[in-house]
């Protein structure tokens, strides 16, 4: 007996794009491996969130930038089909070129007429070596980039927080306060994994299907961002952080 009518559910694409720094410094202290691991480990959770949000088609891409920028995953790939190939570190930090590549893809077409806000996650451990300002200016001319949730993760202590903040947009909250509208500072592999997991699950959830609201004033922006993962007292912290 046929069951419930097999109707096609209306949905919208949600483009999730990683912009990964693959400069030579990423080879030091296992940062590149830690990033590859963090992204790979986050995929099952991301697929679960995608499954729980039938009104969204979560599609993942990745740009790698070193001496120049190139698409590491060029096709918008459904998260459940994604196989993460390891990124390799060597060269400079062509962050501006990476933004240009993303700009081309956020233009309609190829970008769809209707979509959920894209999520862009920029991960870097250093300073751009090309024209970042020009790349950012071009990016921010695209309406989809303006609507996008832009997050940045700073790896280690040499990351250029100012550049990352420019990518995110105006900061909110107190100086020094942890906020999703500021660069997320990952000082070890555990916190990197937590932030990647948060971006690929909680943020994807918030951008695709709104969560419960409490009656306190939320932060500005076109998508209220979920709370950052709590700072847990990890026993690992007591033996000293894995300093980069």
């Amino acid at each position: 007996m046929p069951g419930f009518p097999n109707v096609r559910l209306a949905n919208r694409p949600l483009h999730f794009i990683y912009l990964c720094d693959c400069s030579g410094s990423m080879a030091a202290q296992g940062k590149m491996q830690a990033l590859n691991q963090a992204i790979r480990q986050s995929l099952p959770g991301m697929a679960r969130v995608a499954r729980d949000n039938p009104e969204a088609r979560v599609l993942v891409r990745a740009v790698a930038f070193a001496d120049e920028a190139h698409w590491h995953i060029a096709d918008p790939t459904p998260v459940e089909e994604l196989q993460w190939r390891d990124l390799q570190a060597s060269g400079c930090t062509a962050m501006g070129s990476a933004l240009k590549l993303v700009t081309q893809q956020l233009h309609t077409p190829p970008m769809e007429e209707r979509a959920l806000p894209p999520v862009l996650v920029l991960i870097s451990d250093g300073q751009p070596t090309d024209d970042f300002d020009a790349g950012l200016a071009r990016l921010m001319q695209e309406p989809w980039a303006q609507k996008a949730v832009r997050l940045a993760i700073a790896l280690g202590h040499d990351a250029d927080l100012e550049v990352l903040q420019q990518f995110i947009g105006p900061a909110s909250g107190q100086q020094g306060e942890r906020s999703p509208r500021r660069p997320l500072q990952a000082s070890n592999a555990t916190s990197l994994a937590q932030y990647i997991q948060w971006a690929s699950t909680a943020v994807v959830g918030a951008a695709s299907m709104p969560a419960s609201r409490v009656g306190v004033a939320g932060d500005a922006g076109n998508i209220p961002l979920p709370d950052l993962p709590p700072t847990l007292m990890d026993p690992m912290d007591d033996v000293g952080p894995m300093v980069w």
């Binding site: 046929p2 096609r8 209306a10 979509a115 409490v214």
Partner: protein, 445 residues
């Protein structure tokens, strides 16, 4: 996931004589995390809050304590059983500062899956069981509202279904509050929130529950959202300001008879165009009432009791297509699945009801007594097919009392509990609740 409570740890809580062993983490969200725990000999679920959640919701503990004292409105709620504060000795084992608190509830059985699986089309469920799930949902809210309580945040995310029975479970009962008291912080979930709550003109309560309930019922019955038609397609980027417009500033039901601006697009939003016409007018009417007059007037929304009646009556009209076996509710002239013309079938007629003769349909006390409110959990009789001849239908006595059947010739037969009476052979059936007779379909209709 990084767990706040260490898996495997034994924790002591104030006022609890036996220690609680954390067996495994089950899941987590922005509010907190849920664990499977062992307490004494029992397996239970423990929800533990994140410090930020406790900070945002200062009255949470008071509401939980009151809910625990009030006990669950019905079995459909995974209700808080006990509030747990760690003892000073156990506090250092908890990986947040402050350690906070949590509450115990029953574990959700594995057969109950998220309602989102049904909405997403991944759950094998029959139409009849989807309607039953809706009835149980309305019944649960009826019990909750009858206790003077409100839920405030019902959405697809806190409802679970058992596809084999249509039974439901409602979790996340920690926003439950006395209606009108407003001792809580939650507003609801966009898409489910009533317009007056989303626009901050009012605070959540029983009337806004009725709106959220109707949205959820509509989604379970149609696999589409009631406000997402062409007005949604006009939006390029569906973000917070767009949702505010769609659900708050200019909310318009996709089937509003007075205003066709938001009809579903057949290409992009075809689901509702297939599923909405399946349902009887009396059920559609409650959606029209809630999403048209009730959109701006919160006191004009369909009430839980009305939903229960209309959904129970929809189940009474359940039939199957003779050609393909698809279920329908007599609302359409041809089968939604195979397009075969449909004719009304025979029905069982009682003092207060009329139930189509279709295997699986049931008779309940409310079919005999107008003072009984509808319920589905204690059927008195069920239409069943003969085990070796599926075309032969009978009525099985599910009660504990014997019935008496009379044939057209006036012969009397006893139908003991558990026995089935051939529907083709009897003229009238006498039960302790009243008589019933077979009403053949009128040949000209």
């Amino acid at each position: 996931m990084t767990w706040i409570l260490p898996e495997g740890a034994w924790l002591q809580f104030e006022g609890l004589s036996s220690p609680v062993q954390v067996l495994r983490g089950l899941g987590g969200g922005t509010q907190g995390q849920v664990y499977e725990v062992a307490v004494g000999g029992d397996r239970l679920a423990l929800k533990w809050y994140l410090p930020r959640c406790l900070q945002q919701d200062p009255h949470l503990e008071q509401r939980l304590l009151e809910s625990i004292r009030a006990t669950a409105p019905s079995r459909a709620f995974l209700w808080p059983i006990a509030l747990l504060h760690p003892t000073p000795a156990s506090r250092p084992l908890i990986r947040t500062t402050p350690a906070g608190f949590g509450y115990l509830m029953e574990l959700r059985p594995a057969a109950f899956v998220g309602a989102v699986d049904h909405y997403g089309g991944r759950l094998a469920i029959s139409l009849g069981h989807a309607v039953r799930a809706c009835f149980f949902l309305a019944e649960a809210f009826h019990a909750l509202h009858s206790k003077g309580l409100c839920y405030k945040d019902i959405s697809l995310n806190n409802l679970f279904l058992e596809s084999a029975s249509g039974r439901i479970l409602i979790c996340d009962n920690d926003n439950v509050d006395v209606d009108g008291r407003d001792l809580g912080s939650v507003l609801g979930t966009p898409g489910f929130m009533a317009p007056e709550i989303l626009m901050r003109r009012d605070r959540p309560g029983a009337n806004s529950d009725l709106f959220s309930l109707a949205v959820l019922l509509f989604m379970l019955l149609t696999r589409h959202h009631p406000l997402r038609g062409q007005l949604e397609l006009a939006i390029r980027c569906l973000d917070e300001p767009a949702r505010r417009k769609l659900y708050g500033e200019d909310p318009l039901f996709i089937f509003d008879p007075e205003d066709p601006r938001n009809r579903p697009d057949p290409q992009e939003q075809g689901a509702a165009l297939v599923t909405w016409p399946l349902y009887p007018a009396a059920l559609q009417e409650l959606f029209l009432q809630t999403f048209c007059a009730g959109m701006q007037h919160s006191d004009r929304r369909a009430l839980t009791g009305q939903w229960m009646e209309a959904l129970a009556s929809t189940l009474d009209q359940r039939q199957t297509c003779p050609a393909c076996g698809s279920e329908h509710f007599g609302a359409q002239a041809s089968c939604w699945h195979c397009d075969q013309p449909l004719r009304p079938g025979d029905a069982l007629s009682t003092a207060r009801g009329r139930v189509q003769v279709c295997a699986g349909n049931e008779l309940h006390a409310h079919h005999f007594d107008g003072l009984e409110s509808p319920r589905l959990d204690q059927p008195l009789a069920r239409v069943v097919a003969h085990p070796s001849d599926p075309t032969l239908l009978g009525l099985r006595n599910l009660s504990t009392e014997p019935w008496r059947a009379s044939s057209a010739a006036g012969q009397q037969h006893a139908v003991a509990p558990g026995k089935t009476c051939n529907l083709a052979a009897f003229h009238q059936l006498f039960t302790p609740w009243g008589a019933l007779r077979l009403e053949p379909a009128s040949p000209d209709s």
